[in-house]
Symmetry: C2
Subunit: 408 residues, 2 copies
C-alpha cells in the first residue's frame, strides 16, 4: 500500500522530550513499559513497518538520550535517528526538523519532501490513515487529523460561570498525526516568535500564520487517541494484548488421542473467535511458525520438550520474539490419574528449567495437564477448562506463571 502513490521521500518527527506529569508516574509515559517494551518502541515500530517512511527522528530530553539509544539498539530499530530536544514541544519539533535539514547531504537520509509530525504516545496509527495524511500534505502543503469533540466545549466568565456553549458540529478536536511539505513547516518554525516557541500549541496554526498554508483536515479513527493518564497505559496494553491473541497454531502430534483432543480444542477456540491453524508437527513448518505468536503443543509423553527446544531455536534465529513475547502452552494429555502423578514429579523440574531459560529470549512457556476421562461429560468439561486456561495464558502473557504445571 502506498508504494506507488508515495514516490517522494517521507520522514517522521516524534517529539518525546515531555515529562508526562499527567500520568501520575515517575517515568515519562513514552518510556513506560508493557510486554517488556517501552511505549515509544511500539510507536516507532508502527512507522518502521511502512516501506515508504524513510527515516524517523526521535527528539528526546538530554537525560533520555542514552536510554533512547539503548531502546533503538535493543529492539533493532533501523530507521531511527535520536536527537536532543528543547525545553518546549515546539522547540523539540524544530530540533527534529533541523536534524533532517542537516542530513540533506546524506544520501541514506535525504531531506524529505513531506514530514509527518506525530506523538510518541499515540502508538496505534495505521498505514492507511498515514497515507491519507501524507498525500494531502503533498498536495495542500499541510494536513492534520481531527476527531469529533467528546465533550461539549464551553466558554467561562472570569468569575467561573457558564458564558456559552459552542455548537459541537462546527468544531473538531485537532489530533496527531499532521503532515507538511518540509519547506512549509520548516519555514514556519524559522519565522515564528519566541512566544510561539514557548506557548504555541499547534503546528497547523504556525503553518497557517507563517507560511500561509491552510491545512486539509481529515477525520481519523478513535485509535489515534493519546496515552495521557496512567489508565491509558492499561488501555494501550489491553489493545496490544488483544491483537496478539487473535490466532494460534495448534501442534496436534500424531497419536489418535492427541489428535482427538486437538480437534476439540480447535472447535472451542474457534467458537471464541480465535483463528486456529493445526499442524501435526513443526518439521518443515517453519513458515507457519512465524505467522503467529501463540502455540499449543499437545503430547502424551515427555518427547514434547525437545520439540519445544527446536521451536525456540527457530524463534531465536528469526528474532520472532524480539518485539512481542511468544507464548507456548504445552498440553500434557495423561491417560490415567496415576500416569499424571508420576509424570508431574518427573518432569516438573525440566519444564521449570526450560521455561526460565527460554524466557530470556522473550518466549513464555506454560504447561497444562489434562487427564483423560471415559465419561463423556467429564471429558467435555475438562476440555472446556483447558480451553479457558489456554485462552487466559495467551491473553494475559503473564511472565510470573511460566514454568507452572496447571491442571485442567
Amino acid at each position: 500500500m502506498g508504494r506507488d502513490a508515495v514516490d517522494f521521500p517521507v520522514a517522521v518527527v516524534l517529539p518525546a522530550a515531555g515529562s508526562g506529569e499527567r500520568t501520575g508516574l515517575a517515568t515519562p509515559k513514552q518510556f513506560c513499559t508493557f510486554l517488556n517494551r517501552p511505549l515509544i518502541s511500539f510507536t516507532i515500530e508502527t512507522f518502521e513497518r511502512i516501506p515508504w517512511v524513510k527515516s524517523i527522528v526521535v527528539v528526546v530530553a538530554k537525560e533520555s538520550r542514552d536510554p533512547m539509544l539503548n531502546i533503538v539498539q535493543q529492539f533493532h530499530h533501523t530507521k531511527v535517528k535520536v536527537v536532543e530536544g528543547g525545553t518546549t514541544r515546539h522547540r523539540s519539533i524544530f530540533s527534529g526538523l533541523q536534524a533532517l535539514s542537516e542530513s540533506s547531504e546524506d544520501p541514506v537520509l535525504p531531506r524529505p519532501k513531506v514530514v509527518i509530525i506525530h506523538d510518541a504516545v499515540r502508538p496505534f496509527v495505521d498505514e492507511e490513515f498515514l497515507l491519507k495524511i501524507t498525500l494531502a500534505a503533498k498536495e495542500q502543503g499541510a494536513s492534520g487529523a481531527i476527531r469529533p469533540l467528546v465533550s461539549t466545549v464551553i466558554a467561562t466568565t472570569s468569575e467561573g460561570f457558564l458564558d456559552h456553549s459552542l455548537e459541537r458540529t462546527k468544531y473538531r478536536a485537532s489530533e496527531m498525526p499532521q503532515g507538511f511539505l518540509y519547506d512549509v513547516i520548516y519555514q514556519a518554525y524559522q519565522r515564528c516568535s519566541e512566544f510561539d516557541f514557548e506557548f504555541g500549541t499547534e503546528c497547523l496554526h504556525l503553518a497557517l500564520q507563517y507560511s500561509g498554508t491552510s491545512a486539509k483536515l481529515i477525520e481519523g479513527p478513535p485509535t489515534l487517541w493519546k496515552v495521557t493518564y496512567k489508565r491509558d497505559l492499561a488501555a494501550a496494553e489491553s489493545i496490544i494484548k488483544e491483537s496478539l491473541s487473535l490466532s494460534v497454531c495448534l501442534i496436534s502430534g500424531a497419536m489418535a488421542e492427541t489428535v482427538e483432543l486437538s480437534s476439540r480444542l480447535q472447535k472451542n477456540l474457534e467458537s471464541h473467535h480465535m483463528t486456529v491453524e493445526v499442524i501435526s508437527c513443526i518439521k518443515e513448518n517453519n513458515e507457519l511458525l512465524l505467522k503467529t505468536r501463540n502455540f499449543i503443543q499437545i503430547s502424551t509423553s515427555g518427547a514434547s520438550l525437545s520439540e519445544t527446544e527446536e521451536m525456540v531455536k527457530v524463534f531465536e534465529e528469526t528474532k520472532h520474539a524480539l518485539l512481542y513475547p511468544v507464548v507456548i502452552v504445552q498440553v500434557q494429555l495423561c491417560m490415567s490419574e496415576e500416569a499424571a502423578d508420576i509424570r508431574k514429579n518427573e518432569e516438573l523440574k525440566a519444564i521449570v528449567d526450560l521455561s526460565r531459560m527460554v524466557k530470556q529470549g522473550n518466549v513464555l512457556l506454560y504447561s497444562v495437564q489434562i487427564i483423560y476421562s471415559k465419561v463423556p461429560e467429564l471429558w467435555e468439561r475438562s476440555v472446556e477448562r483447558l480451553t479457558e486456561i489456554i485462552e487466559s495464558l495467551i491473553r494475559d502473557r503473564n511472565p510470573v506463571l511460566i514454568g507452572q504445571m496447571l491442571q485442567a
Copy 2:
C-alpha cells in the same frame, strides 16, 4: 463528610438508556461487566455509599428494564428506582426528573431540593467533588464539572480546511456531574423545545436558556472521565483492580517456620507499596477480616483448609464479597521436596473442590507451594518468587486460576 453541610434532600438521575455504539461492543457499555459486575453497578455503588444522597433514579431503555431490576436485586442496591427513558438523552433525563416529581407524595422518596445529573459510565466520581457540586447547585441554582481541554479545538471551513484554532485557555470541556436546584432544571425541561429534546447536548445550556440560571463551573479531577470506547473498559477495570490490591491481611500461623516466612513476605510486599496487616489466626479477628479483600494464609499442614472454610463463612454472613471478589492465597510451606510431593497428590482434590465451591460466593481461592531450603540464597529467591506470584494473583483476580497449586 457532608453530613452537616447537606441538610436538604439530594437525588441523583443516571441516564443509562444509550446504546453505546462507540465502544464497538454488542452490549451497551453501562452494562459491560468486569469483576463479575456491570459498570453501572459500580457507579450506583459510588452514590449509594454517600449518606446524604437519598435516592438514585436510573433511567433505562425499555428492553433494559428487567436486566436493570435484576442488577439492583443481585447487588443489593437499596436507594435505586428504575424508570423507563425516552429516545434521546434529554428525554431520558426528563423522565428521571418526572419520577422524582411524582414521588413528592412519598415520604421515603421526598422531592429533592438538589438533583445531581451524572453519567452511568463515569464510575469514579468521589464524594468530596460531589459535595462541591451539590453545595454550589444549592447556592447558585446550577453547577457543573469542567476539565481543561485535552486537544486543541479548531473550527473548520466548509471545504474541510483549518479556519482557526481556539485559544485553549479561554475554553473548557464540560463534563459530568452537574447539579441543579430541582425547580430550576425541571422548569427548564418543561419549557424547552422539541428541538432541544432531540438535539440539545447540555443541561447547563437549558438551565441558562429556560430558567435564566448561569451555572457555577468547578474543575474536577481526571478520574471523572467517561467510559466511551472499548479500551476505556480495560482502563476502568485496571483502576478498580489496582484499588482492590493496595492492602493484604497475612495470616501467619503460630509455628516458628510459618512466622519466619510471614515476616519475609511482609517485608517484600511492603517494599512493593502494599499495606500488610499480620495476624496469627483468624479467631476473634472478624473485624480485621472485613477491612481488606486480600488474604494470604500460611501453613505447613492441611489444617488450613478448615480455617479457609471459616473465613468464607464470615464473608458469606457479612456479604463481604458481594460487590468485589475476595482473594485468598493459601501458601503451603513444605520442609522438604518429598513432603511437597506427598502433600500435592493428597490435597489437590480437596483444594480444587473447595475453590469451586467458594467461587459461587465470589471468593477466589488459590494455592502456592513453597519448599524450604537451608541455602539462604535459594530460600531468598523462592520467597521472592512467592511474592511475585501472590502479587499477580491478587492484582489479576483471574477466576480461571482458582484451585491451581502453583510452585514458588
